[in-house]
Symmetry: C2
Subunit: 424 residues, 2 copies
């Protein structure tokens, strides 16, 4: 079987995703597609518009064969860890051949060149990043500038891409992710082949909706501000029908005021001394978070009060989720050392069933369809990395459902009670 791997969030599944899926199948001539999909919280540190089961349903209805959940401990971290976790999962299936990712560049060569510079960890390059961080640049900005300095020093002869091209590439979010996928494949000595497709339609951050292929950001904004009918043209029918059903059941996680109250209450029990135990916070950020937590009245104000030029909004939002779920630096370190421990299947179609039976035989990791076999309740203090990581996934679902407007849907333990999504 020639299986294709895609790493995704599908928040929600739109025409851009559909284009990517079809094109990726075409260029790899694959006869099966596995997606690694983020769970209920997104890489940018926010709750998903729709829960992981709704998004799985959308994806399968639109032609994905099998969905594996990216564990939370990779899903809500910087591009590097997100990519590393997802690539390692796909690599451990031992049946995926190619990874096809969307990028603004659409050209693999410069991405590979940048990945190789980043992997090389040249002393001068590292020093440049540090010095840019010291003057207050955010990590992506510091890295961009260090990269340019490095290429200037080494001379462009060593590279087929030029500095201008590199500069344009390194700041685009999907290029950054792509570079991280390439890095991870190399670091893991994985046999996966990375391929890229140029993203169609709007760029990632675009908020205006004006194109059949609109960004997920634009679609979400439009939906939240103008309602379901405003986005009819921007979602495939299968996605739209599922979103419509979830809206009807008031199962859209838009109770951001609840999330804010929950996060603020959590923060107001912690001291700066406690905060430094979380990843990326031991840099003076602990005091900013502490002060903001006692000043802010809601989530938006909290983030606004914390963020600076070097501590970006996205990073802060992710950090707040780490605090919410009580995932400390030592927890990440423990789990990173072990790598992903399971392949949690969220849904599949007929072809996905064939893939699953193959997967069960070939995979280096246990395949989980019923988490209740492994967990009776969350236990994030476990020394077993499988139990510990799976516990965070469960905790995320348990807190996510509290954000539904419909109080009858706010139940916990959905990972125990929701069956595998099957589409014939």
């Amino acid at each position: 079987m020639n299986i294709l791997g895609i790493i995704t969030e599908y928040n929600p599944f739109h025409y851009g995703h559909l284009y990517h899926l079809k094109k990726a199948r075409e260029i790899t001539n694959s006869d099966g597609v596995i997606c690694v999909m983020n769970g209920n919280f997104m890489q940018r540190g926010r709750p998903a518009l729709l829960d992981k089961w709704a998004r799985t349903h959308m994806a399968i209805k639109n032609g994905v064969d099998l969905i594996i959940e990216l564990p939370l401990v990779y899903g809500i971290r910087s591009a590097e860890y997100f990519a590393r976790g997802a690539v390692e999962l796909l690599s451990n299936t031992n049946i995926v051949k190619n990874i096809v990712f969307g990028s603004e560049s659409g050209n693999l060569k410069p991405l590979k060149e940048i990945a190789s510079i980043l992997l090389n960890e040249d002393e001068y390059f590292i020093e440049r990043i540090k010095s840019y961080l010291t003057i207050g640049l955010s990590y992506p900005h510091a890295r961009e500038k260090a990269l340019i300095d490095f290429m200037k020093l080494k001379g462009s002869n060593n590279y087929q891409s030029n500095i201008k091209e590199i500069t344009e590439i390194i700041m685009e979010p999907n290029n950054i992710l792509g570079i991280e996928y390439i890095k991870a494949i190399s670091q893991l000595n994985s046999s996966l082949t990375p391929l890229t497709i140029k993203r169609q339609g709007q760029n990632y951050h675009a908020k205006a909706i004006n194109n059949k292929i609109s960004s997920a950001t634009a679609i979400r904004e439009c939906f939240l501000n103008q309602g379901l009918s405003a986005i009819t043209d921007y979602l495939p029918a299968e996605s739209y029908q599922i979103l419509e059903k979830w809206v009807k059941n008031q199962k859209i996680a838009i109770k951001n005021e609840y999330l804010g109250a929950i996060i603020l209450a959590t923060l107001r029990k912690l001291r700066p001394d406690d905060l430094i135990e979380f990843a990326e916070i031991n840099t003076g950020l602990e005091n900013r978070i502490y002060e903001a937590a006692h000043q802010a009245g809601d989530l938006e104000e909290l983030i606004e009060n914390i963020k600076t030029r070097s501590f970006t909004r996205t990073r802060i939002e992710r950090n707040l989720l780490h605090i919410l779920f009580d995932i400390r630096q030592k927890d990440f370190e423990f789990l990173d050392k072990k790598g992903p421990q399971y392949l949690r299947i969220l849904g599949l179609n007929k072809q996905g069933e064939k893939i699953l039976s193959k997967l069960t035989g070939k995979s280096s990791l246990p395949v989980i369809i019923k988490p209740a076999r492994f967990l009776r309740s969350i236990n994030t203090k476990s020394n077993d990395p499988l139990i510990k990581s799976l516990s965070y996934d469960l905790m995320a679902s348990d807190i996510y459902s509290l954000l539904y407007p419909n109080k009858r849907e706010r139940k916990g333990h959905r990972d125990f009670t929701t069956p595998l999504i099957k589409v014939k």
Copy 2:
């Protein structure tokens, strides 16, 4: 100085409180009144309608001379600990002579007799309580029945009160508190003299508002359902004006949906194994709470799903606050051993200033007007009982303000920033 002590919640200060205050002054011929008042959370396990500073203001405007805050670790516990903490505070002032409490009984003699039976801890009596608890009665019910059995056994000759009288007395909430005050005075070998006044107007639980002296419960219900104008006749002008101002500023802690989301999120991170570390929960209640936390969609549903005949609603609400503030059995034990550590002054009038200067000289405990001198941030893990207890008070304020409809008022650290309430 002949100083009178009153133990209270003033949630909010109404005509019944005013009657009590005047009558208590009269019968004791006091020239000063100190109130020990609960902070932002009530003994029955709920957030106060108005914060402790609004309630202090009401009380001082209505004639109380000085308000001392009852630390949270006594304020949100059963009658026994509530009374013990409050009496110990008043006793440690070394300037309070009498305590006057309201009771349904209005007669000290039977209350003293019951207190002496409870204090005596007769083996037969203890055994009867246990056996009634075993068959599923709540503690107050079990105690009532054990008391009757005991008096029957001993014969009524030993008591001036008869069984019928005792039965009627022991189930009324203010009688129960009164008995606990008398017990505490005896246990502490305190020189305080307890006195009681018969409660006027409605009983404690009355919800209908139909009397100038209406219960605080009735007044709150009426206010929450029908608005401010519906309770004009039931509050002294000084109380009404303050309530009016707080309503205008949207500083009424009625965001029970936030409290529910915060408590549910807290619970969904805990396992039954964690829950048994909290007071009163190691009796099978851990599993009920665990299950309910994963079923309920809001606070009301949570409480309804947990409560039984033996685990009363009030007890559950208190237990949930212990979990919210992460006060475990071992924390209570540590602090109980040490007793109250400080006299935190919330407000005073001119006479109160005189009392304060006397208090500063005589008190066995430090007098706290500015908590920031003792705390820079909460530290509930401290081994210093003063720091630890004060930290819980601060945490309670920090979480309480998140329940305001007005998001600009949801600031933390109000215990550091709110000045002493002074009324000329």
